[in-house]
Structures are given as structure tokens and as C-alpha cells.
């Protein structure tokens, strides 16, 4: 007991706080640099990288917000993320339901096939997918990105949803059947509402995955009007290569939706990622 007492006084957590502060600085300094840098002119930025701006220039931010391209890219990213998520979760829920509540020959084989998909690097399939999408005329079409993202999102989503569906007791299903529910009625009216927390988790994962995707939109979209934010940022950097402050402003504005979403959905995101990781 005496030993434990000696380790608990407040002064002993000071080194821990010091380490946490150093790590926090490592994480935050780049972001804060971008935020404040966006309020400077590029010429001031090179002479005064850390201090507050002499005058708070809002031009960099207002120029980006005033241009239609930023908003168009924001819309494209949002649209693709939402449709991808609805499709991934809807299709996975149907399949997860069958894998969780039906016993049939070949079930484990099919399920193993889906779980094996977790290990396939997406990059392996990108060339054939490009050729396939071109054949079907889906290049420069949001559907090309949406369908592909949904297909690659299936394994993790099915695994998580199946696990949750399995945890719902059989008595609930029996009661529903006695009350006249068919399989779809049970799925739609009982199972899905009960699975709301799991649905929220997989939806958050699908949204973040789609939002941050770069490789697929990079090869599918050549026309500027279909670009998502990651493509827009990359192009903006090329276009204003010497105007660092303006790029910083663009970056900060592009961070806002992601960080805002993180603030709202932090619990689901972290829970889903760690669950997904330990189940992989």
C-alpha cells in the first residue's frame, strides 16, 4: 500500500503530461501552421512562418469559398459518399442477414469468399476495373466510383453486420414468425431497427472510406466537373504551386468537413475501426 501511495501524488503525472504535450505538438503544429498560414500572404509566410499574421488576410479563404469549384467538389464528394454508403450497407445487410440467420450448404464457402476480400489490395484490381468501367461507359460517371467502392466495402461491412445479427436471440425471430412475419418482414421491421448501432458504425466507416478515396477517382474522373475534393486538392497544389498560403487555405477548408464529421461520429468511427481491425 505504501508503495502505491508513493506513486499516486499529482507531481508524478507531470512527466506523462510532458510527453503527451510533445506528441500533441507533433500532431497539431502542422494543422495550426496551415490554419494560421492561410491568413497570411505567401511572402509573409516565408519570413514569418509561426507568429500570428501582421494583418489577418482573409483573401485566401474567401477566394476559395467564392469559387464554384470548391463547392462543386464538396458536393461531388458528399454525393458519392452518401450513395456509396447506402448501397454498401443495404446490400451487406441483406447478405449479412442470410449469413447470420440461415443454415444452408455452401454458406461458409460464400462467407469465406467475402472475408478473403479483406486481404485483396485494392490496387491489384485497379487496371481491370478501369478497363471494365470504360467498356460499360462508366468513366467520368459517379456510378463507376460508387459501385466499385461499394463492392470493395462489402467484406468488412458484411462481417460486422453478420456478427451483430447473430447476437440477436432466436426467440425474437420465432416470436416474429408466429406473429406472421415472413423473412423479409422480420429483416425489415425487427432486425434492422434492432441493429441500428451496428448500422451506424458501418455507415461511418463507409463514408470516411469514400470521402478519402483517391486512387479510384484519380483514374475514373478525367473531367474537372466530376472531381472529388482529394482530386481538387491535388490539382490546386499543381496550379498554385508557388502560392503556399493559398494552398494552405484550401487544405484547411477541405479539412473542415472531415474533422467536423469526426467530432460528431468519433465513437462510431473508433469503435468500428478497432472492431474491424480485431475481426480481420
Amino acid at each position: 500500500m505504501i508503495h502505491r501511495r508513493r506513486r499516486t501524488p499529482r507531481s508524478s503525472t507531470l512527466p506523462l503530461h510532458a510527453i503527451a504535450w510533445v506528441v500533441g505538438a507533433f500532431v497539431l503544429i502542422p494543422v495550426v501552421y496551415a490554419l494560421i498560414g492561410g491568413f497570411k500572404t505567401t511572402s509573409e509566410l516565408s519570413g514569418n512562418p509561426f507568429g500570428l499574421p501582421r494583418t489577418w488576410e482573409t483573401d485566401n479563404y474567401t477566394d476559395v469559398l467564392g469559387s464554384g469549384t470548391f463547392w462543386l467538389q464538396l458536393w461531388n464528394s458528399t454525393f458519392i459518399a452518401v450513395v456509396t454508403t447506402v448501397l454498401t450497407v443495404g446490400v451487406s445487410a441483406l447478405a449479412g442477414f442470410v449469413f447470420a440467420r440461415f443454415a444452408f450448404r455452401g454458406r461458409e464457402l460464400f462467407f469465406t469468399m467475402f472475408t478473403a476480400g479483406l486481404m485483396f489490395p485494392f490496387a491489384v484490381a485497379i487496371l481491370p476495373i478501369f478497363v471494365l468501367l470504360r467498356t460499360f461507359g462508366l468513366l467520368d460517371n459517379p456510378l463507376g466510383v460508387i459501385l466499385t467502392q461499394a463492392a470493395f466495402g462489402l467484406p468488412l461491412t458484411i462481417i460486422i453486420l453478420r456478427g451483430f445479427f447473430r447476437s440477436i436471440p432466436g426467440e425474437v425471430e420465432e416470436a416474429a414468425i408466429i406473429d406472421g412475419c415472413g423473412p423479409f418482414g422480420f429483416f425489415w421491421r425487427i432486425l434492422l431497427p434492432m441493429a441500428r448501432p451496428a448500422i451506424a458504425t458501418v455507415s461511418v466507416l463507409a463514408i470516411v472510406g469514400s470521402w478519402n478515396n483517391f486512387m479510384l477517382p484519380l483514374v475514373v474522373f478525367s473531367e474537372e466537373s466530376s472531381w472529388t475534393l482529394p482530386l481538387g486538392i491535388q490539382q490546386f497544389q499543381g496550379q498554385y504551386a508557388s502560392d503556399t498560403a493559398r494552398i494552405l487555405a484550401y487544405l484547411v477548408l477541405a479539412m473542415v468537413p472531415a474533422l467536423g464529421f469526426y467530432a460528431i461520429a468519433e465513437r462510431h468511427l473508433v469503435g468500428g475501426l478497432t472492431a474491424g481491425a480485431t475481426k480481420g
Binding site: I19, P121, L132, L251, A258
Partner: protein, 319 residues
């Protein structure tokens, strides 16, 4: 299959509910499984098979399926290039740096935030935040910060009379890339470790402390062994991710200067899309696939085997 629902037998069968009626049951299974199956086979399985097929041809990606069969020539050509050897070397370097530096660092931070210190919830949220930002945002941000002429990093270092060429020099590009990867990913591994740590019953740790074990001994002999399954999974994820590393490298360096930070995925995109040698690029993607597959099988067979058996803790049963 769908026509069965309208078939007359389906109606005549006397069974009470569709779920227990054999034929109706199969219809339900098929209908529910079909959308996922179609999507998955068409856009995941088939493309990977096509990649395998195309890797045996000289093909520019046009005109239906390839016809100019050249056997394993794409592979012998690939294995003979210097760039491919460099790709493998960069993979090895990044995996090694991750396992030796990034993951222990994440583990240490996770253990720190497992202590009862004030504000730990806030620390967790902040440390994880970079993981939420896209690779593109991270990449562009750091390409500005690490710019040799006017970047923030050199402006800090110049105070101490130091500077570096960071991403612009073949000797420093890999450590710089690793620095950016650590910034973005250590919070993710930290969260996995924290989740794993919370599954260890506190009684075990407390019992050791009452028996007079120091904090280090408690960590070394109680926490670390019980975190084994979690650590093995985070190593697994880290390696699988590094094999297909693309976005960050593409944004930061495009594989340069002079291929000194190139990865297999960058080489593949370069040949497939810039030079339209789709057959040759497919061979690279097949190598990536086989590398991931062999690693996954060997790792699960020899390293994670004990976890799957779940002998000493309840951790194994959860999977």
C-alpha cells in the same frame, strides 16, 4: 431463380411460413445474397482474375481481352529491372521502420493514455485526428511543410543551424516519408492498443502491483503478453497496408527523386496508365497480390496461430 416465387408449387406447399418451406427458403437466400454476390464477383473477383490473365499478355488495355500471349515474359522482365528491386527494398525499409519505431511508439502512447491523467480523452481525440484526414490532405500539407526552400520544417531547423532536403534528396526521402506515415497512422494503432488493453482484466495488473512488481515489470510480464494478439494484428495491418502503399507516395514524391521512394503500386500505376503497358503493369499487380496472400497465409499460420486457438485468454474467442 426469381420466377420460382410465381410458380404454382410455391403456393400449394402446406408449410406454415416461407422461412421453413424448403423452396421458399432457397428463394429467400438467393434473393438476399444475389446483390452482394453480383457486385463482389463483378468488381472484385473478376478484376483480380483478369489481372492474372492479362499478366501473361502484351496488352495496351484496348480492344477487348488481350491476345498477344507472351507467357511469363512480363514477370521475367519485371524481376530483371532495378526498379522492382528498389520497390521491394522500400517495402522492407518501411515495414522495418514501422515495426521497430512506429508501433512501439503507438504502444507507449497507448499505455500512457491508459493511465489516469487529466485530459486523456482529449489527448486521444487529438492523436487520432490525423487518421481521419485523407492521404491527399496529409500529403499536400507535408509537401509544403517539408519543402527545402521555404517549408516550415527547415525554418524551425535553421534556428539550430540545421536543415534538410527532406523529400527532395534520395538519402532522406524514405525517413521523411516514414515521418509523414507516422504522423498519420500512429493514432490508429494507438486506438487498437487501447481497445486491446481495455480487454485485459484490471485485477491481473493490480495483483501484480500488490505483489510488489514495478510498473515496468507489470508491463513486461502481464500487459505485454496479454496484448500479444492485438499487437500481432496491428503488425499484420501495417504490413498489408505498406504492400499497397500508393496515395501518400504519389502526392509527396511520385516515387522520386529518381525512383528513390517508389513503391510497387506507384510502379504499376506508372506503367499501366502513363505508358499504357497494361499487361506488364498487371504482372506487377499480380506480384502485389501474391505477396499479400503469401504474407497473410504464412503470418496467420505461424504467428497468429496461438491467438486463433485462444489458449490462455478470452481474446482469441472473440474472433
Amino acid at each position: 431463380m426469381t420466377t420460382l416465387t410465381r410458380g404454382p408449387e410455391a403456393v400449394r406447399l402446406p408449410a406454415p411460413s416461407p422461412a421453413t418451406r424448403p423452396r421458399g427458403r432457397w428463394v429467400t437466400i438467393a434473393l438476399f445474397l444475389l446483390p452482394a454476390l453480383v457486385l463482389f464477383v463483378l468488381l472484385v473477383v473478376a478484376p483480380i482474375l483478369v489481372a492474372f490473365y492479362a499478366s501473361a499478355f502484351k496488352w495496351n488495355g484496348f480492344g477487348g481481352l488481350p491476345t498477344d500471349f507472351i507467357g511469363l515474359d512480363n514477370f521475367t522482365r519485371l524481376f530483371g529491372t532495378e526498379i522492382f528491386g528498389q520497390d521491394l527494398w522500400h517495402l522492407a525499409v518501411l515495414v522495418l521502420l514501422s515495426v521497430v519505431i512506429q508501433l512501439p511508439f503507438s504502444l507507449a502512447i497507448a499505455m500512457l493514455l491508459n493511465q489516469r491523467i487529466r485530459g486523456r480523452a482529449l489527448y486521444r481525440v487529438v492523436f487520432f485526428a490525423p487518421y481521419v484526414l485523407s492521404e491527399v490532405i496529409t500529403g499536400v500539407l507535408f509537401s509544403l511543410i517539408l519543402s527545402p526552400q521555404s517549408g516550415m520544417a527547415n525554418q524551425i531547423l535553421s534556428v539550430f543551424g540545421l536543415d534538410s532536403e527532406w523529400l527532395a534528396n534520395p538519402d532522406t526521402v524514405m525517413p521523411s516519408l516514414f515521418l509523414v506515415m507516422t504522423w498519420k497512422y500512429f493514432g490508429f494503432h494507438m486506438m487498437i492498443y487501447l481497445a486491446g488493453r481495455q480487454n485485459i482484466p484490471n485485477e491481473l495488473v493490480e495483483a501484480a502491483q500488490i505483489d510488489g512488481a514495478t510498473s515496468w515489470k507489470t508491463f513486461r510480464h502481464i500487459t505485454l503478453p496479454l496484448l500479444g494478439p492485438t499487437i500481432r494484428i496491428s503488425v499484420f495491418l501495417s504490413v498489408i497496408y505498406t504492400i499497397q502503399l500508393f496515395d501518400l507516395v504519389w502526392i509527396l514524391t511520385q516515387g522520386g527523386p529518381s525512383h528513390s521512394s517508389e513503391t510497387m503500386a506507384v510502379t504499376m500505376m506508372d506503367w499501366g496508365f502513363k505508358r499504357s503497358q497494361v499487361g506488364y503493369a498487371s504482372a506487377i499487380s499480380v506480384v502485389m497480390f501474391l505477396l499479400s496472400l503469401v504474407f497473410a497465409l504464412v503470418y496467420q499460420r505461424f504467428v497468429m496461430r496461438r491467438d486463433l486457438e485462444g489458449a490462455t485468454t478470452s481474446m482469441g474467442e472473440r474472433r
